[in-house]
């Protein structure tokens, strides 16, 4: 059984490798692209414009601040989907190293999550831009953003720790996960208002989706209303359990997976 000081030693021992892997992710993302860091701002802006035009005109009366509503949901969801996808592939992509030297393999999915989270932090400035466009000032509800982002990060790391070893054993997890992500997307209320659905008998679908709870809290922080604190608690517990499950799954698989790479 490992004690706390053992874990501390492990973390400090591996800190340098983790930081190198994170650096590699950030550097390679922006190398050889003329737009550089601007690209991570343009992408969410463009998708938000399209979503606002398409779904905004579909509604009979476009609600105020619809663009802010969309950009909040869209940016949080796309972080989760792109990061879990790349974390899923991370062990497979680095197989030439893993097969050759002994190294702590769990650093690969975690590094993937960390560097994507840093880029996500940069792209959050898009939200500030849209707030300016909508002439919204931040209110005292903004504190909700911090727990929402922390839970989001933990949820992503947990998903990555489960997906990456499974992907080594079952190569078609990649496609299956895309399907699951699409279902999650539709259950997140990104481009529609959940009010009607919430009041129907199917409201529990949204309530059970931790991503919806995270997006709702994030949105509450940006748009200035108080999201249901129980939802936030639920998603927090969900993320912790998923993270622990991820640690368990990864520890079970890490010795075996080198034979499948």
């Amino acid at each position: 059984m490992l004690t706390f000081s053992d874990y501390k030693k492990k973390i400090t021992d591996n800190w340098f490798l983790l930081s190198e892997l994170v650096k590699k992710g950030v550097r390679l993302k922006y190398r050889r692209s003329y737009l550089g860091i601007l690209w991570s701002l343009i992408e969410p802006i463009l998708t938000t414009i399209v979503l606002v035009i398409v779904f905004g005109t579909m509604m009979r009366k476009r609600p105020p601040d619809f663009s802010l509503y969309i950009v909040c949901g869209r940016i949080v969801y796309s972080f989760y989907s792109s990061t879990t996808k790349s974390a899923c592939m991370s062990l497979w992509k680095n197989r030439s190293m893993i097969k050759k030297v002994y190294l702590p393999k769990y650093l690969y999915p975690i590094a993937e999550c960390v560097y994507q989270f840093m880029i996500f932090g940069i792209s959050l400035s898009v939200v500030a831009l849209v707030m300016l466009y909508c002439r919204r000032a931040p209110t005292h509800f903004i504190w909700q953003v911090i727990p929402a982002l922390m839970i989001l990060f933990l949820l992503t790391v947990g998903s990555g720790l489960i997906l990456s070893p499974l992907h080594v054993f079952f190569r078609d997890i990649e496609y299956l996960w895309n399907v699951v992500l699409m279902l999650i997307q539709y259950m997140c209320a990104i481009f529609y208002y959940p009010k009607k659905l919430m009041n129907s008998q199917w409201g529990f679908i949204l309530k059970l989706n931790p991503m919806f709870c995270i997006i709702d809290a994030f949105r509450g922080g940006i748009m200035g209303y108080l999201a249901d604190p129980w939802d936030l608690m639920y998603s927090g517990c969900f993320a912790v359990v998923l993270f622990l499950l991820g640690v368990f799954v990864f520890r079970r698989c890490q010795e075996e997976l080198v034979f499948y790479l």
Binding site: F16, K24, S96, L103, F170, R171, V258
Partner: protein
Amino acid sequence: MANKKRKKKRRKNLFKGYELDQTRFENDEDRDFAVKVENVSMKFSMGLKQGRSSIKDVVIMGLLPTMWKKRQQEKDKDAFWALTDINLELKKGDRLGILGLNGAGKSTLLKTLAGVYRPTTGRVKKKGVLAPLLELGAGFELQYTARENIFLYGAVLGYRREFIEEKFDEIIEFSGLQKFVDVPIQNYSSGMRTRLGFAICTAVKPDILILDEVFSVGDAKFRRKSEQRIIEMFDTNVTVLFVSHNLGQVMRICNKAIILDHGRLIAEGDIGEVAPIYEQMTGEIRQIRQAAKAGVDVGSLETTPTGGPLSKEQMDAILEKYRDFD
């Protein structure tokens, strides 16, 4: 006193590689051993990579238990032992040559020692920092420059940042890439990559050094230089595990040797004892091959593996067995 102790500890930490939990020594009596391999066997399933790669199949087979059973049986039938019951003990400063034909299990043994594979049965104990030199330069990030790769590769090998910063100039100088430090690796020739890989791997002063045919790369000048560097390391009482097909090189570098054949340890001892056995083994194969090519009657050969004349069937069997041998 305490301060001195701490200082020493910090110094040691600088060269620290990753330690496996299984590598710690429990008893003091084991202290002078660098590597201990106890009853290590390694089982591979041949169809592992192809089999069970789809979750759809698993779901379908989960519904049909008979099919699942059949699949498991097939898997067991495919299994083969890459290593069978290997026992080894190396003292600090021993230099072991690992000889054997292709597919004898040499690389599997090295990977088990390096901690990449966990043995199916038995255990491996190691003491100190281990530096693996396997397939140099295979793990480089192609879009990265040499400078960035040195830090990344060093981190993967378990070096500390300060250590790499300290050794950076030495690595560049040894690999002779001063002009290309900030050029992406993808523009390098394979020889340049190997040189860089060798320089990074040998920058550390390890306690155990694993060499898997590393001298067969690079030009003659670099080959001499790298062999020189390895021999310099011997002064620091490093334990070496060396795989090569070149018996001369093994005899130059090693003081002990083992021969592996189909995953079994068939000879073990000082290099002086083992080298003739290996020579005989390969010599016989060569002789039989030449004889078969020339169409000479095998019975007329003086040395045969069994001591007596060989029948046609026996010769065919031997040729078949050593078909991959070069």
